[in-house]
């Protein structure tokens, strides 16, 4: 039996923009598959305390250099006298050292991978939130007020932009790693996880401000904005109640891409020792500490590297799918696809994709 074309599908204009976007996203199987992968990664990281307490019976920073492991009547050293860490034990030791030890300190690699993921994701999302929030506010102010406000904000962003983002982040990381950050009554010590979050959030702000400003400049000339101004709406109301809702799709897409960028930069900073400070763990610090054992225990570098790769890939592909779904220009494609689907149905009697 041939399926009936959905009424909303046949007449896209009848549904709200968010509903339409969701419908487009649902059709993008690849984006959904990577969203699924991302959810799995998040679930894996959130399960860290469960695995650490119920299975591995150790914390992420607990060292076991001199401990021995009983495996099937055999005794295995967590770290050999020559400093070689034990390899993956899978379930042979009841889940302890499932992926082996992380190095000569004999910490459980699996537990650190899970906890490290929590740190990396936390930094990725928090830094992305900061840069998105700051970028949106500054972009709105610059694009709406124009004039000296725009000049001031744009030039400030240009100054930050003039520094290579990685070098700027490394320099800030180095400077803040020892003394921490003191802003008025707020004091963050050098090993605080908020230091890399703030650094990453800060250095990427210009990359957010410019496109937002451009879109505000364009939206500001639209009739609905002029109408709101004519009705006496305050600038704040125009910016946040009229213009901002019309940019939400752009902001959401940027946010996902910012998460990926923030996670990559965090990995780099932590690898170089200026991001997450030991003994705290993140995937970046794990690559850094595993790098010294690259020849004898390559898994210690490959595992966190793969996790970063999969997470960034998942976020990027899903972000692309989201952009396709939220981008108004995609409407045309959807309509063409819908018509093509209907035509195919008529010809073959099959189910529209």
């Amino acid at each position: 039996m041939a399926s009936q074309p959905n009424a909303e599908e046949a007449a896209p204009g009848a549904a709200g923009p968010w509903r339409l976007a969701w419908r487009r996203l649902r059709r993008n199987r690849i984006a959904l598959a990577f969203l699924g992968l991302f959810v799995l990664i998040v679930a894996f990281c959130l399960a860290a305390p469960l695995w650490a307490n119920q299975v591995a019976d150790t914390g992420p920073n607990d060292t076991h250099t001199l401990e021995k492991l009983g495996v099937g009547g055999e005794t295995r050293e967590v770290v050999s006298p020559s400093g070689k860490p034990i390899g993956p034990q899978w379930f042979e030791a009841d889940g302890k050292f499932f992926l082996g030890a992380d190095g000569r300190l004999g910490r459980d690699e699996m537990v650190r991978l899970m906890y490290g993921g929590r740190t990396s994701l936390l930094i990725g999302f928090s830094a992305a939130a900061i840069m998105t929030l700051l970028g949106t506010i500054l972009g709105l102010l610059a694009g709406y007020y124009r004039g000296w406000t725009d000049t001031l904000i744009a030039r400030t962003m240009d100054v930050i932009w003039a520094f290579p983002v990685t070098l700027l982040a490394i320099a800030l990381g180095l400077a803040l790693a020892i003394g921490g950050l003191r802003i008025g009554p707020i004091h963050l010590s050098g090993e605080s996880i908020w230091i890399p979050i703030l650094i990453i959030g800060f250095v990427f702000v210009p990359y957010m401000v410019r496109p937002i400003r451009g879109e505000v400049l364009s939206l500001r000339e639209k009739e609905f904005v002029e109408a709101a101004i004519a009705q006496g709406a305050s600038p704040l109301r125009v910016m946040f109640a009229e213009i901002l809702p019309n940019m939400l799709s752009t902001i959401i897409v940027f946010f996902t891409l910012n998460v990926a960028n923030a996670m990559l930069l965090e990995s780099l900073l932590s690898f170089l020792g200026v991001g997450v400070q030991p003994p705290n763990t993140s995937w970046g610090t794990m690559i850094g500490s595993g790098f010294d054992l690259l020849t004898s225990a390559p898994l210690l570098t490959l595992l966190p590297g793969t996790m970063i790769f999969l997470t960034v890939l998942a976020v990027n592909v899903f972000g692309d799918g989201l952009r396709d779904a939220l981008d108004p220009r995609a409407k045309v494609r959807v309509q063409v696809e819908a018509r093509a689907g209907m035509a195919a149905d008529e010809v073959s009697g099959g189910v529209a994709p």
Partner: protein
């Protein structure tokens, strides 16, 4: 006729083979050719008055000779001071304040200029003119402190006679370490007209068996034989080898795994760097005794505790920390290259007498900690970021947390670590990691800069424990004035124990280094001096 011709040909070939074989057999070792080596980091300076790294000292050990020099020998024997450019060890008089030496006659620099006694004086003055990090060793020479400030005039405490080669050095006070200091590279003799600037790119003429031939900063440097060594200097200075290779080619290979790989493939003959820890086990199993050997520089690795600030101002807390440290765990963290130690003076240093006041005992550590019951338990642990020192720091933080402290770890880039923890304005300098490699094999080199109260400085402080115990300070001062002999060595051993009774540090080991050469080099003859590292003149083909 044809038959006779064939017989003749066989005879000729047989004789030729016999001559060839006997020639090989008689030489014993092959001379000439080029020694190829690799460094992981370029020497800080190729200028004897300026260099203060192992890379630089190894590079110039057989190139620039001081009046006295260290014996080209492995282990403890390598700490012996011998005459270098001087005819004999110094004659010390005037209560240890006057040193008299005489320069060998007929010595020449590698450019052919005669070496004069006054070149020694100008070399010491050059130390101060170029603001060498080694200049403080020579500030006790009369007039040196003033010269250091003004950099004008002369150091009046050095008198030389170019005709007789006699050199007289007057000190402001007795200094028992001065003989050792005269044998450092800082006191190497260079021509008087050597410019007062860093000469790395154009190293001064040499006095040893090799001269630096070319330098490509950050990439490579090469040597050739000093043309005046065999004819002039070598016959008089027999404590320094003549060298077996005609040329030496050293290149920079930053990755130590690549260095190993090149040696295994016989592409490089020697690596100056320690073999990487993750390859060490494989290399030991495969090459120990044939191409690989463990060597012992004189060093100590330890955790210091700030004795002037709570909670480490309490002896019981410091003792608890010492009992809590398990050196076996640290040996594994250093991948087997660390040898456990529990005292200030490392093995190989005169005055070393092994003891362990605090064998690992966590129960005892907890008991002492409980008795001390420190009110301030929030502490900061400082360590550098270089592996495995960073892991040693993490281990230490874990031990302190286990003991009951709320320990925060601060990991500082290795390039800035000394400056950061040596600056009194850095907050929370409670405890941390450090290592100390000898400047010269004299126990004072450990006690004076690291534990004497007068060494506590606002910047570049090395007395991180801020140890300031007046009776022990007085002993350090008194011993420093006297020349080293078996009696003094016994007193240094006692001092070592007294400092450990105060538990100012928790020492945990001495790190070893290694010699790794390719299959062509005769490993048995390669010399590793504990102060200077490898002697390039000792390398020869099998």
């Amino acid at each position: 006729m044809r038959k006779h011709g064939l017989v003749l040909l066989v005879l000729v070939l047989a004789v030729a083979s016999a001559v060839g074989l006997s020639a090989c057999g008689s030489s014993g070792s092959k001379e000439g050719g080029t020694l190829t080596g690799s460094y992981a980091s370029f020497p800080d300076f190729l200028d004897p008055q300026l260099s203060y790294t192992q890379e630089g000292w190894t590079a110039m050990f057989d190139t620039y000779l001081p009046l006295l020099t260290y014996k080209r020998a492995n282990g403890v024997e390598g700490s012996t001071v011998e005459p270098g450019l001087a005819e004999a060890l110094p004659k010390i008089s005037n209560g240890g304040k006057t040193y008299e030496l005489t320069l060998h006659k007929g010595l020449k620099f590698s450019d052919g200029t005669p070496i004069k006694a006054s070149d020694f004086k100008s070399s010491i003055e050059r130390l101060f003119k170029v603001s060498s990090p080694g200049s403080p060793f020579y500030e006790t020479i009369v007039g040196a402190a003033e010269f250091a400030e003004t950099k004008k005039g002369e150091i009046t405490g050095i008198k030389t006679n170019d005709k007789t080669g006699k050199i007289t050095i007057d000190l402001t006070g007795p200094r028992g370490t001065f003989t050792n200091e005269l044998a450092l590279l800082f006191a190497a003799v260079v021509p008087a007209d050597t410019p007062d600037k860093n000469m790395t790119n154009e190293p001064p003429p040499a006095t040893g068996p090799y001269m630096i031939d070319s330098v490509e900063p950050g990439r490579r440097f090469t040597y050739k034989r000093n043309p005046y060594w065999a004819s002039n200097n070598g016959p008089k200075i027999d404590v320094v080898g003549d060298g077996h290779f005609d040329k030496i080619d050293i290149k920079l290979v930053r990755n130590d795994s690549t260095q190993v790989n090149e040696i295994e493939r016989d592409k490089t003959m020697w690596m100056q760097t320690l073999v990487p820890s993750d390859l060490r086990e494989k290399i030991v199993n495969k090459y120990e005794g044939t191409q690989f050997r463990v060597d012992h520089p004189i060093d100590i690795y330890y955790f210091w505790m700030n004795t002037q600030k709570a909670p480490f101002d309490d002896l019981k807390v410091r003792q608890a920390v010492n009992y809590a440290i398990d050196t076996e765990a640290l040996e594994r963290i250093y991948a087997g290259s660390m040898v456990a130690a529990h005292q200030i003076l490392p093995e190989g240093m005169p005055g070393y007498d092994a003891f362990n006041l605090y064998p690992h005992n966590m129960a005892k550590a907890r008991q002492l900690f409980k008795e001390a019951n420190p009110s301030d338990r929030d502490i900061t642990v400082w360590t550098d970021a270089e592996n495995p020192n960073d892991e040693a720091g993490q281990y230490y933080q874990g031990v302190l947390s286990e003991l009951g402290f709320n320990a925060k770890l601060k990991t500082v880039n290795a390039d800035n670590f000394v400056q950061v923890i040596g600056n009194e304005t850095t907050p929370d300098l409670d405890t941390g990691w450090f290592d100390w490699y000898e400047d010269y094999p004299h126990p004072n080199d450990y006690f004076q800069p690291l534990l004497a109260g007068e060494s506590i400085a606002p910047t570049l402080n090395f007395n991180h424990a801020r140890a300031d115990f007046p009776p022990l300070n007085a002993k350090i001062k008194k011993l420093a004035e006297e020349p080293l002999n078996p009696e003094r060595e016994a007193e240094y051993a006692k001092l070592d124990r007294e400092f450990m009774e105060e538990a100012v540090w928790a020492p945990y080991g001495t790190n070893t280094t290694s010699t790794f050469v390719d299959s062509e080099i005769n490993l048995d003859n390669v010399i590793f001096n504990p102060t200077f590292g490898h002697s390039l003149a000792s390398f020869e083909l099998k």
